[in-house]
């Protein structure tokens, strides 16, 4: 077993009486360090506006989500023991994530395409989207608190 067990009498996965799976302490600290590094990266990257530099929208969102998903997978795999546990737990959690993705995709399929066939279908009471052309405060200016 790659994950050496700490308690001496442990190691029988299938034994119905010995049920604890103890993860080595250094794994927990390594994951913790990786999470801190990920946080530092995601904050640092947010001060660079890739959207402007590359001229492509949502690059920053993409980078931030890659980092966040990596962090989430680390938490799930090690802190939440999904790597060692019965796979049914991972399937349960993943199915929620899949239905979340469906929720996103199908809702966006409506809200991002209104008014493209019949412009009355995209009518707004007052089109707040027009405001985005006004006053572009171009570079990220964070207010200091």
């Amino acid at each position: 077993m790659a994950h050496a067990s700490v308690s001496a009498d442990h190691g029988h996965h299938d034994d119905e009486q010995h049920i604890a799976h103890v993860t080595p302490i250094k794994v927990y600290f390594a994951v913790w360090a990786a999470l801190i590094v990920g946080t530092v990266i995601t904050v640092a990257v947010s001060y660079v506006d890739f959207n402007v530099i590359l001229g492509v929208p949502n690059v920053n969102l993409f980078v931030a989500m890659i980092v966040a998903i990596t962090k989430a997978l680390l938490v799930c795999a090690f802190f939440m023991h999904l790597k060692y546990d019965n796979k049914i737990f991972a399937v349960t959690f993943a199915s929620a994530a899949i239905f979340l993705a469906i929720f996103f995709l199908l809702t966006f399929s409506d809200l991002m395409t209104r008014g493209q066939v019949d412009d009355k279908q995209g009518t707004f009471v007052k089109d707040h989207r027009a405001q985005q052309q006004v006053a572009p405060s171009a570079t990220p200016q964070r207010s200091a608190h």
Partner: protein, 225 residues
Amino acid sequence: MSGSHHDNPYLAHHFDTPRQQLEANKLGIWLFLGQEIMFFSALFVGLMIFRSWYPQMYHTAAHELSVPQGAFNTIVLICSSLTMALAVRWAQMDVPNNNRTVFWLCLATFALAGVFLVVKYFEYSHKIHVGTLPGKFFDPSNPEFPAALKQFDNAKLFFGFYFCLTGLHGIHVLAGMGVIGWIMVRARRNEFNSKNFAAVECVGLYWHLVDLVWIFLFPLLYLVG
């Protein structure tokens, strides 16, 4: 029933083996975590929709949030996840004084959760001070209202989502503190050992979910404007 398993005081009457009982408990809590994801889902969907509809408003409003405070809270929650994971680890081990270690690790987790809420309090009170609040409390006439936001009369949408998401997450933090406190009481009574740790593990799983939600909330609200 005269089965030998009734000699095990930790085994409920309708289970046959400790493994069956542990896996049932864990499957139950994982399903609960799955429903928590779906519970938060609509807020995330709505937030991202309005971000796509009104990128300039979102950009400007997001920059009114304090990244240092948000980042600090992210670190606090990551540390609390570590102490919680270690508490589960010690609850699983038959070593001397393991319940004492569980108690102190849970206390550390509890304290870090408290720090998170204190920082949140400072963030909220700043917004109350300048009037960047949701719905009918949104107040552009406040003298300290951020000048950059005055041109967006739909900016209250952003703060509606900010307060709903962080408020709901904060309620989950409070609930987590409650169940961690319950684990501390039971650790004081020396209840946990390698045959009886499911309660600590389930509370731990819940606490990691609270961390997971924040791992996504922080960049989406504070960073990707």
